[in-house]
């Protein structure tokens, strides 16, 4: 990747991480860990990969992104705000009764949200429906779905992959955020969906692996997905839950809790330092 583009994306990703911390801290609740693990992927999607226009969020020909792991809403909101769908200040209203920023994504309330999600396992099926619609209407928009690795314990995820492969939905790209953690502990201690590689191939999908915090790797993975014809692509994105805030990294307890004022200050200091270094 070109150096200026790389720096630009890295800066955007830091700002989006700040948006996550701002929102979750202001709300006093929310899911920072799984938001931070996909911050780089979301940055790449909205600022390089997807054909979207914040001035025309309902454009029927736009690319679509379904956040199947809907609890990572703070990172989606931060990206949409950064992209200009709504003011960045709105992020501080996260989870408030009068806010358009619900605890989980709501397509009827927030401009730029393509699908309501939050009940794990469901978003990926909706993404299949959208990709099927593009095929039926002979349109060339693409559909992205981000699924959690814990979420992939839901049978519906595999029903959806079977459906996508059977219907040759090569305009569908599923990203599994493989951060290794869920709520009750590490994936391998709960009910491990590993090994992904063999399963995904056996379900008829094209498998790509990615380092979720390396933009060259992210770019290459999405390019390979786009070039893949006749079958959907599933990207297994190796990520670090809580990435970018030192004390949150790889910590189960930061799945669904908000930083206090002191922790907030530390997180913002770290992110400001990261921004300054770019």
């Amino acid at each position: 990747m070109e150096a200026t583009k790389l720096t630009e994306l890295q800066k955007i990703a830091v700002k989006i991480r700040m948006g996550v911390i701002e929102g979750v801290h202001a709300a006093g609740a929310g899911h920072p860990g799984g938001s931070l693990s996909i911050a780089d992927i979301i940055s790449y999607l909205y600022f390089s990969e997807m054909k979207v226009d914040p001035k025309n969020p309902k454009d029927p020909d736009r690319d679509r992104m379904v956040l199947s792991k809907g609890h990572a809403a703070p990172v989606l909101y931060a990206a949409l705000a950064e992209k200009g769908y709504f003011p960045v200040e709105d992020l501080k209203t996260l989870r408030q009764a009068d806010s358009h920023l619900q605890g989980h994504p709501d397509m009827k309330k927030t401009p730029g949200v393509d699908m309501t999600s939050g009940s794990l396992g469901q978003g990926i099926s909706a993404a299949c429906g959208m990709a099927l619609c593009a095929k039926l209407d002979k349109k060339d928009y693409r559909v992205y779905a981000i699924v959690g690795d814990g979420e992939s314990e839901e049978g519906q995820v595999w029903e959806a992959l079977m459906f996508a492969a059977h219907n040759k939905l090569d305009n569908l790209c599923v990203i599994i955020d493989n951060n290794g953690l869920q709520i009750d502990g590490a994936i391998h201690e709960i009910v491990s969906p590993a090994p992904y590689e063999e399963k995904i191939k056996a379900f008829g999908c094209h498998l790509v692996t990615m380092d979720a915090h390396d933009f060259d790797s992210i770019e290459a993975a999405f390019a390979e997905a786009k070039a893949t014809k006749g079958q959907p692509t599933v990207i297994v994105a190796k990520s670090v839950k809580g990435k970018g805030v030192s004390y949150m990294e790889n910590q189960v307890k930061w799945h669904g809790s908000a930083p206090n004022d002191e922790q907030y200050a530390q997180a913002m200091a770290e992110l400001n330092a990261a921004l300054a270094a770019l």
């Binding site: 009827k108 396992g121 469901q122 429906g129 039926l136």
Partner: protein, 315 residues
């Protein structure tokens, strides 16, 4: 199709889909039951717009939601048990909450599934679907009404639950003059002593019951309530005021279905005795349909008995 013919509402559903496919752009999904739900007619006529999702009802509803979110009207079919039952939460969160344009067309509702028995006899779907904000719940009484309801649902923008039966039942409406109106009950027979509010296949039995009551000198009004949500409060209020007693009749649990809806409404606007005919808090069982209907009290005789109790309970 003419008055008195015996046709299952699922049959009318399938035929309506195939006919509407000629003029309307929409998609039909099924979950490995196309021959039984009768979506097979559409599948044969429009193979490019029919998708069998396999035995994966939750995913089917999600796919339907995605199609609708991308602008495509869609019907998703399975048996009531697996559509409203298995996929309840998908319907709740992926269809009803975002208020997407998905028609859930469920067949084989109630105990007239017959031989397959309790695991396939859904007596809870009206209750489940009725609790969902913004969901329309339509339970046609015959093939004519079923056909009209399918067209209405397709042209309506929003989520809708359509309930169809397996068993062939008499055509009660004249296909040439009938038109479906959402949220409107239909007085099929006037009366002054008691009102029978029926839905689905119980409507023809309600008419028989009214005839039997009339032989005993009791004048019964019969209302066909095809739309259970939104419920026609006006026609109920009028019936309660004018006849002072109500019996409901449905092929569904007496808990949460038409009977509950009518009682909830009347308790507020004009309380009168409401007696409910339906499945009395029990599961179904295997059997031929006529003995099953008898076993579960889904008969004109039981409606007559409940009508007399309701009349006796008048203040």
């Amino acid at each position: 199709m003419k008055l008195g013919d015996k046709i299952a509402t699922r049959e009318a559903y399938g035929k309506a889909l195939a006919a509407l496919g000629e003029t309307h752009d929409f998609v039909v999904l099924d979950a490995d039951l196309a021959e039984a739900t009768k979506t097979v007619y559409f599948k044969k006529a429009f193979p490019d717009r029919f998708f069998d999702c396999g035995i994966a009802e939750g995913n089917m509803i999600g796919v339907a939601a995605g199609l609708a979110a991308a602008g495509k009207p869609v019907f998703a079919s399975s048996f009531a048990m697996f559509a409203a039952g298995r996929a309840f939460e998908q319907i709740r969160n992926s269809v009803a909450y975002p208020h997407l344009n998905v028609k859930i067309a469920a067949t084989h509702a109630g105990i007239t599934v017959g031989e397959d028995g309790a695991t396939h006899q859904c007596n809870e779907d009206i209750a489940l679907m009725r609790t969902l904000p913004g969901m329309l719940v339509i339970n046609p009484s015959d093939a004519v009404e079923a056909q009209a309801a399918v067209k209405f649902a397709l042209e309506h923008n929003g989520p809708c639950y359509l309930r169809f039966g397996r068993f062939a039942t008499p055509v009660l409406h004249d296909p040439d003059t009938y038109s479906f109106e959402l949220g409107k009950g239909e007085v099929l027979r006037d009366g002054t002593d008691v009102t029978i509010v029926a839905t689905g296949l119980m409507v023809s039995m309600a008419l028989e019951a009214a005839e039997m009551l009339s032989a005993e000198g009791i004048s019964a009004r019969v209302i066909n309530m095809a739309t259970i949500k939104p419920l026609d409060g006006e026609i109920l209020e009028k019936a309660a005021v004018e006849t002072g007693a109500v019996v409901t009749a449905e092929e569904h649990s007496v808990i949460g279905g038409l009977g509950s809806a009518v009682a909830e409404t009347l308790s507020m606007i004009h309380p009168v005795p409401v007696y409910r005919v339906g499945v009395m808090d029990s599961f179904g069982r295997s059997g031929k349909v006529p003995p099953l209907l008898k076993l579960y009290g889904l008969t004109p005789e039981n409606i007559v008995a409940k009508a007399k109790l309701a009349i006796a309970a008048k203040r």
